[in-house]
């Protein structure tokens, strides 16, 4: 009896889970959400894995990659360098300005050329959902974020009485000959759970619209995971997880090199204390460790396209912890979080001269960069009454970072910065407030925040980082100051019955915006490699910059089974000279009509973008043409004895349009027409 009560508390009142109660863009909820005013919509949620069983909410393409799911959200964009490992952006800000965590764990990419955003080290099957925080209103464990945060929630069975279950799925996509296989099993009761699975993706080169093969766009990926949970005694839970992910032979058509292997080992152990009948509801403490090894490879390229053979391995290791205390007191809902992590990022570059008798040329592009960071986060949501609520959050962090390798790290940077100290201490932080008004079918939000971020390892200490986008070498700058921003946002929603309309705008005003600027002295003076590249850029704080993100969302349910979804986004980024910031999305839209019956779902969508007029050649950008693509999909579920079978099929880019977007590195074209089929068995 007591056991059950605790399970209930666990399910209903744990703050973190409530925080993610959601507005779902990808999947319209079938039943109206309970209008419990004590629940607040904190962070957006993107549902990653399709629900099992026969359910109207399941997605038309359940085997989509993590990136494909993420980009269904209007705030998330994807920078693409090939078919694999897209780099997420939130509010048009990428890696340095956003925080990506996996179940609250920090994890950092190991590639100096951004080939491996951390989202590439997990698979759909590992995840249940993603919490998207916008701006400073981020996940508790987010650090150095301005644009927002993503927390990828692992797909744990949880302590429930489901017993044994199994899934098997496979998929095929015609374009690129992509094969997907996966299987996972789970056993769960109220005191124990174990789930484990394997996932495999394998693709050849894809074809652009019109039929042209995009060379070096192949990839292979394998992923295994295990999650384990034990209730030690009532209210004391111990949970552990291990993910091992290995991508091999990954082509990057937009870059000069490919990847031989990218390995990620992600482990964690957490202890959760649940309290009954008190202001404190939950106290979770986790320790974790992850290790990423990324090996680049240019040996698959035709010799005549290789200027010089190079080995470029990179490694990123992170160990950390966090401890989160959550609770409710009166009209307050609060959470306190202490987190800490230590990261080491190491990357080598070895160049092989044409004369084999000559010594190889060696350098560290990340000279064993060490980052130690610890922060305190507090959030409180106060519900004045039915109509008004206020959310306040703040985080303060201490960071010590530097270059640990003296011989190849510190020494080389001292050529440029003779006064450079080996380590630096920094304090960063942010504070934000959101006021929400709700009445009848109206909802309004106003938010404001201020915060700063420390420069990233590459920005501070990167050495000879070649950017194929603008063809410049980038040099880190240990003298960089923090980048800070003021965020303001407004949103209005109107939900009269079956119709939902939402308009949202957020604005960021940066001071000390960090971006690479040309340093002509270095071109003459020689960091320059003279391989046809343009020269050298050094990361600098420009006085100010601004970024505006706007979106319009529409949802209309009609005739019981139909939903019309519409989304339009527009963003504008400017630097201190009113020139465009790089990688800012032009006007884009996405409209879909969905039919969801009991067993049958179908969707037709049209997505596109206007011509990109605000681009900046200084950062290697050129004008991107407007495009429109049409996608169709359908799914059917049926039961064979105890097994539920889901069959999905669809066509993406129906008219085989040749296009590339503002975020396609060096304008590599997107996939042309693609027919996919997914088959999934749930037992």
């Amino acid at each position: 009896m007591k056991n059950k009560q605790n399970a209930m508390i666990h399910k209903v009142s744990s703050l973190t889970r409530m925080l993610h109660l959601a507005f779902m863009l990808a999947v319209p909820p079938l039943y109206a959400q309970p209008q419990d005013t004590t629940k607040t919509v904190e962070l957006n949620e993107i549902i990653i894995s399709a629900k099992t069983g026969i359910h109207r909410d399941r997605q038309a393409k359940p085997n989509a990659s993590v990136e494909e799911y993420l980009q269904t959200d209007g705030k998330v964009g994807m920078v693409k360098r090939g078919a694999y490992a897209w780099e997420p952006s939130i509010n048009n800000m990428t890696t340095e300005r956003i925080s990506i965590t996996i179940d609250g764990m920090k994890i950092f990419h190991a590639c100096t050329d951004r080939m491996d955003p951390v989202t590439s080290y997990v698979e759909t099957v590992n995840l249940s959902k993603v919490s998207l925080g916008s701006g400073f209103e981020a996940n508790p464990n987010a650090t150095n974020n301005i644009g927002g945060s993503l927390d990828l929630h692992l797909n744990r069975s949880g302590f429930c009485g489901d017993g044994f279950s199994a899934n098997a799925n496979s998929g095929y996509e015609s374009n690129g000959n992509l094969w997907i296989y996966g299987a996972d099993i789970a056993y769960a009761n109220e005191r124990f759970y174990l789930n484990s699975g394997y996932f495999h993706r394998n693709s050849g080169n894809y074809r652009a619209g019109g039929g042209e093969t995009v060379r070096f766009s192949q990839f292979t990926k394998n992923n295994v995971f295990t999650n384990l949970g034990i209730v030690l005694k009532t209210g004391h839970e111990l949970e552990g997880s291990v993910i091992y992910d290995r991508a091999a032979d990954v082509g990057y058509p937009a870059l000069a090199m490919d990847v031989a292997t990218a390995d990620g080992l992600i482990t964690s152990l957490s202890y959760t204390r649940l309290f009954a009948g008190m202001a404190l509801t939950k106290w979770e403490t986790k320790v974790y460790y992850n290790n990423i090894v990324h090996i680049m490879d240019d040996t698959k390229r035709p010799p005549e396209e290789i200027v010089m053979h190079m080995d470029m391995p990179g490694e990123s290791r992170t160990a950390g912890f966090y401890s989160t205390l959550s609770g409710n007191a009166g009209r307050h809902r609060f959470s306190l979080n202490w987190d800490g992590y230590a990261n080491r990022s190491y990357a080598e570059m070895t160049m092989y001269p044409a004369d084999p008798n000559e010594k190889t040329m060696f350098m560290l592009t990340w000279g064993d960069i060490r980052t130690l960071n610890t922060g305190l986060f507090f959030v409180d949501e106060y519900q004045f009454n039915h109509n008004h609520s206020l959310r306040l959050s703040a985080k303060g962090s201490f960071q010590r970072d530097g270059v640990n390798d003296k011989k190849y790290g510190w020494n080389t940077l001292q050529m440029f910065y003779p006064e450079m100290k080996q380590y630096k201490n920094r304090f960063t932080g942010n504070a934000s407030a959101r006021y929400r008004f709700r009445k009848d079918s109206w909802e309004a939000n106003a938010n404001a925040g201020y915060g700063s971020r420390a420069p990233s390892g590459s920005e501070s200490y990167g050495y000879y980082l070649y950017n194929t986008f603008d063809a410049y070498y980038y040099l880190g700058n240990p003298n960089l100051k923090h980048e800070s921003a003021i965020e303001t946002g407004l949103s209005f929603a109107w939900k009269p019955g079956a119709l939902e309309l939402k308009a949202e705008a957020s604005h960021f005003y940066f001071t000390g915006y960090i971006i690479g600027k040309i340093d002509p002295s270095l071109k003459n003076n020689g960091l320059h490699m003279n391989f046809g590249e343009e020269g050298v850029k050094v990361y600098q704080n420009i006085p100010h910059a601004s970024l505006l993100n706007t979106s319009l969302l529409l949802k209309y349910r009609f005739l019981n089974f139909y939903t019309l979804n519409g989304k339009a986004t527009y963003a504008r980024g400017r630097d201190n000279e009113s020139a465009s910031l790089p990688l800012i999305a032009p006007f884009g839209y996405d409209v879909s009509l969905r039919f969801a019956g009991n067993r049958f779902v179908a969707e037709a969508g049209i997505a596109g973008a206007a011509r990109q007029t605000d681009f900046n050649p200084e950062y290697g950008e050129d004008e991107t043409k407007a495009y429109t693509v049409i996608n169709l999909s359908a799914g059917y579920s049926f039961r064979v004895k105890k097994t539920v079978v889901n069959l999905n099929a669809g066509v993406e880019n129906l008219f085989d349009t040749y296009y590339s977007t503002y975020a396609d590195w060096k304008n590599i074209p997107r996939r042309g027409r693609n027919v996919f089929v997914n088959l999934k068995f749930n037992y």
């Binding site: 912890f321 004369d355 010594k359 530097g402 003076n525 020689g526």
Partner: protein
């Protein structure tokens, strides 16, 4: 009513351990150097000669004479093996090439302060066997009233190679300048080149065989290091070599942005900026006529 136990779980111990383990290596202190009483610690013996009263030995880091700059240390011991720190030493190397003889730029042998050790450098213009030449020197010493000499001692000057062990390396250069004088420029440092900032030092001698007077001051060696294998790229913030009166050597800074084969292109200028020898690197001209090679 339960009490909340905040710190009874010991969860933090492994965390702190992990964080410490990751960071501990950053904080390593370099160990203080031990003071040694052995004057030749770390040196290898090149050769040794003894007479009735004393033993004289030559030493250096590699244990051999080599083309270009060779630093040599000498010790003088009495019959009891005691190191003498009041000796005077002289050595004059000569190469016998059959038709002619020549010496080489060198220093006097001077006392190393604080140690019973004597030092000199020889900038060997040629290696033993080059042009069928043979190097030898007369090595003489004086200790109080005692004196001795070891004459016509053959010294084996090895050729200098790049790391592949077979390709000769350019580390000393003889040329006739625009002022019609003959010069010898010898690269000394970097002896142990590394990525990053390196000291670079060089000697400039005038060649007035048999004498090679050191040219102390009034010249500049303009420096432009390049990597021919990488489209002749350079490195930033190098410092030209100028006379350092205290150390009696031309000194500058050379920066290597990576390991590998570097060509240190030089231009020898006089005080008024007139080019004595060497040329700037421009389109189509990949190297100076005066250069040294460093590969590591």
């Amino acid at each position: 009513m339960k009490t909340i136990q905040l710190f009874d779980k010991g969860v933090y111990a492994p965390v702190i351990f992990l964080l410490l383990a990751l960071f501990i290596s950053c904080e390593k202190d370099s160990e203080p150097e031990k003071q040694s009483t052995d004057p030749v610690e770390g040196l290898k013996k090149i050769h040794e000669f003894a007479d009735d009263s004393h033993t004289v030995a030559a030493w250096n880091e590699t244990g051999e004479f080599r083309l270009g700059y060779t630093k040599v240390y000498f010790t003088v011991q009495d019959k009891d093996g005691k190191y003498i720190d009041s000796a005077e030493l002289n050595a004059f190397p000569e190469m016998d090439m059959g038709m002619m003889k020549h010496s080489t730029p060198r220093s006097e042998i001077t006392k190393v302060e604080g140690k019973p050790l004597y030092e000199a450098y020889y900038n060997f213009l040629m290696y033993s066997g080059q042009g069928n030449g043979v190097w030898y020197y007369d090595l003489s010493y004086t200790v109080g009233n005692a004196a001795g000499s070891f004459d016509d001692v053959v010294i084996d000057v090895k050729n200098a190679f790049r790391p592949d062990g077979t390709t000769p390396v350019t580390i000393i250069k003889t040329f006739v300048g625009t002022d019609e004088k003959r010069y010898v420029v010898t690269l000394v440092e970097p002896l142990h080149p590394k990525v990053g900032v390196n000291d670079i030092t060089a000697y400039i001698h005038e060649s007035k065989s048999p004498e090679y007077p050191a040219l102390e001051g009034s010249f500049t060696l303009k420096l432009d290091p390049r990597m021919p294998s990488m489209e002749n790229h350079s490195s930033p913030n190098n410092v030209d070599l100028t006379w350092n009166a205290a150390e009696k050597i031309y000194r500058g800074k050379v920066n290597f942005s990576m390991t590998g084969y570097w060509k240190l292109n030089l231009i020898l200028q006089d005080d008024s900026g007139n080019i004595i020898y060497g040329n700037a690197i421009t389109d189509g001209i990949e190297a100076s006529s005066l250069f040294f090679e460093v590969e590591f």
